[in-house]
């Protein structure tokens, strides 16, 4: 790949300063680690703003920055669905309905909740599949970071992978989740201040929204107008797949069950803060399309006017825009923002991995009774091992056409079935432990089978997606729907074959039985309630969909 630009001394200093600060965070926070709760749960002391910003920042990895701008370049404004219907309802549902169960003193992780609600088999299956998925996701972030180094600095891909890995390994193994959250909050603001200006300058340069609408086809600039039939839009999806595949199964499957983001809410100091964190994050989530969606559209216009070459890889869109509009200094900041986003994603996956592995695999099955300090040491070693394994997965990501499609494939296999059993288990007491285990296992296997069946042409793709020539994204949406439906059906059938669970043992684990410890006595004002702000967020979501209909 040809180097786009040579960074000067100022750019390099700006990047180096960031690495120094991040490593400094690790060194500083390691002094504060006294217990395993400090290392794995950040001591559960954060307010809702810190937990909320970290909640979103953990998600703002390579997927958001490169992947989404690449999707926007490829599919237009339809990509914004991932930030709107594909995120907000699920985030609000998590904060308002599900957090009372998750945050209760009984559980420290999603696998731990599954153990209490269902059985050890379900817990173990989820722990292992989650561990594998986080390593794969960490590899994606690592790959994206290496891509930036390769494009901007001309660094060898392999060297870039090792540099980024060493940095993340250092500050996460030192400070655990506290270090990760510190860096995620810093990275959140760096991303906004480092990339927003590039989009604004590009927007002004091309002539604004009017120019985008004039130059791009209609189906690139409308969210819903061209989703009546899959042939009407570049993503080749219809509204049903968007609403139920993305908006329900994939979205809820990720935002309500993925421990990577939920772990940040777990670091909150009390129940109200835990419930507010995804709600606060939802507002910032809806702002992100300004950076990632708009940048893709701007780059399309720049390519059309020959100010940029046609992109070989859609994921390069944001890189090219930043390089075009930024002078030195701001260019260094833009690169730092991209690196910050990647490191946040990688660190998030690694910190979630080390927690699930240490608590739900190592402590549950291997060494069950050891001093607290032993588990901190294990967490640190596991961090290093996890980084090394994810280096391998970085090379897997390199072979996929776009990052986003790779991510959604993983989610359809792992998260969609998991969401099925959690949804049933959390709201229906009749669901049994073995029902949940059988359902989630069957769902995962069905998604995997469908993936390979289409990949190797055992079955035609329209059998899965009900459209003659579906895009990879459409297939992901439909595969998620099938996996979810399979999970739900099998779970219910097996549950009804088995003995109903003891309802007393389900106290605090199903809806309607959670203990009300989330509202301190003084917060009785309506504007302090999570439900109020959730309603406001929902209103904003609706308005945005109407504006860009």
């Amino acid at each position: 790949m040809q180097v786009l630009i040579h960074l000067n001394l100022l750019d390099t200093v700006i990047i180096a300063v960031y690495f120094i600060f991040i490593l400094g965070v690790g060194v500083y926070t390691t002094q504060k680690i006294k217990t395993s709760a400090d290392f794995f749960m950040a001591g559960r002391r954060n307010n809702s703003w810190i937990a909320g910003i970290a909640f979103l920042s953990a998600n703002m990895g390579a997927l958001e920055l490169l992947g989404m701008s690449g999707q926007s370049y490829k599919y237009g404004i339809l990509t914004a669905h991932f930030y709107l219907i594909g995120a907000i309802p699920a985030m609000l549902f998590l904060g308002i309905f599900m957090m009372p169960f998750y945050y209760s003193k009984q559980v420290h992780s999603i696998p731990a909740y599954l153990k209490k609600r269902f059985n050890t088999a379900t817990h173990t299956l989820n722990a292992y599949t989650f561990a594998i998925m986080t390593l794969l996701m960490s590899g994606i972030n690592m790959y994206a970071m290496a891509l930036v180094f390769n494009v901007f600095l001309g660094w060898n891909f392999n060297t870039s992978v090792w540099v980024s890995s060493a940095t993340v390994a250092a500050y996460i193994s030192l400070g655990g989740l506290t270090s990760a959250i510190f860096s995620e909050v810093m990275q959140f603001f760096i991303i906004w201040f480092g990339l927003l200006l590039a989009v604004f300058l590009g927007y002004v340069h091309i002539g604004g929204w009017h120019e985008i609408v004039a130059r791009l086809p209609n189906n690139f600039t409308h969210l819903w107008q061209t989703t009546g039939h899959s042939s009407q839009n570049p993503m080749l999806v219809d509204w049903f797949a968007i609403v139920f595949g993305l908006g329900f199964v994939l979205s809820f499957g990720y935002w309500t069950t993925d421990y990577l983001v939920i772990q940040r809410a777990f670091s909150a100091k009390d129940m109200r803060s835990a419930r507010m964190s995804p709600i606060i994050a939802s507002f910032f989530k809806m702002l992100l399309p300004i950076i990632v969606i708009l940048s893709g559209l701007i780059v399309i216009v720049l390519v059309q006017s020959h100010e940029l070459p046609k992109l070989d890889r859609p994921d390069d869109a944001l890189l090219y825009l930043t390089n075009l509009v930024y002078p030195h200094g701001l260019l260094g900041l833009g690169v730092t923002a991209l690196l910050a986003g990647f490191m946040a994603g990688q660190a998030g996956n690694v910190s979630a991995f080390n927690t699930v592995f240490t608590y739900d695999i190592y402590r549950s099955h291997i060494v069950k009774q050891a001093p607290d300090q032993h588990y901190i040491k294990v967490g640190r070693v596991v961090t290093i091992v996890g980084i090394l394994i994810s280096i391998v997965t970085a090379y897997l990501a390199r072979s996929m056409p776009t990052i986003m499609e790779y991510m959604q494939t993983l989610f359809s296999i792992v998260n969609a079935p998991l969401f099925g059993i959690i949804l049933l288990g959390m709201f229906w007491s009749r669901i049994t432990g073995w029902g949940g285990f059988t359902g989630v296992l069957t769902g995962m296997l069905s998604a995997l089978l469908l993936y390979y069946a289409v990949e190797y042409h055992w079955i035609p793709s329209h059998w899965v997606a009900f459209t003659p020539d579906p895009s990879v994204m459409a297939l992901n949406f439909w595969r998620a729907i099938w996996a979810f439906v399979t999970t739900v059906v099998v779970t219910i059938i097996v549950s009804f074959i088995g003995v109903p669970p003891d309802k007393e043992k389900l106290t605090g684990l199903i809806y309607g039985s959670a203990q009300e410890e989330d509202q301190p006595v003084m917060i009785k004002k309506w504007y302090g309630q999570p439900k109020f702000w959730g309603f406001i967020s929902l209103l904003v979501l609706i308005v945005l969909n109407l504006i860009f209909w």
Partner: protein, 73 residues
């Protein structure tokens, strides 16, 4: 970690330090470009000056926030 003691250094402190440093560097770069006879094309709207200023102001806002914050560390 102590639950009763408010920390002098918290996440806002570190963020403010980073932003004050970045704002100074970028603002300085913008002022430098003003002295150049042929500044780079991307500097024509002087983004380094006004955005560097914005980052610097943000850094001081974070510093103010760090003094009021009740974050964990």
């Amino acid at each position: 970690m102590s639950k009763s003691k408010k920390s002098v250094v918290n996440v806002w402190t570190l963020t403010s330090g980073l932003f004050i440093l970045y704002g100074t560097l970028i603002l300085g770069a913008g002022l430098y470009y003003l002295t150049q006879e042929t500044p780079p094309p991307s500097a024509q709207y002087h983004p380094s000056i006004w955005w560097g200023g914005v980052i610097l102001i943000a850094g001081f806002l974070f510093l103010w926030l760090s003094r009021r914050s009740d974050t964990a560390i």
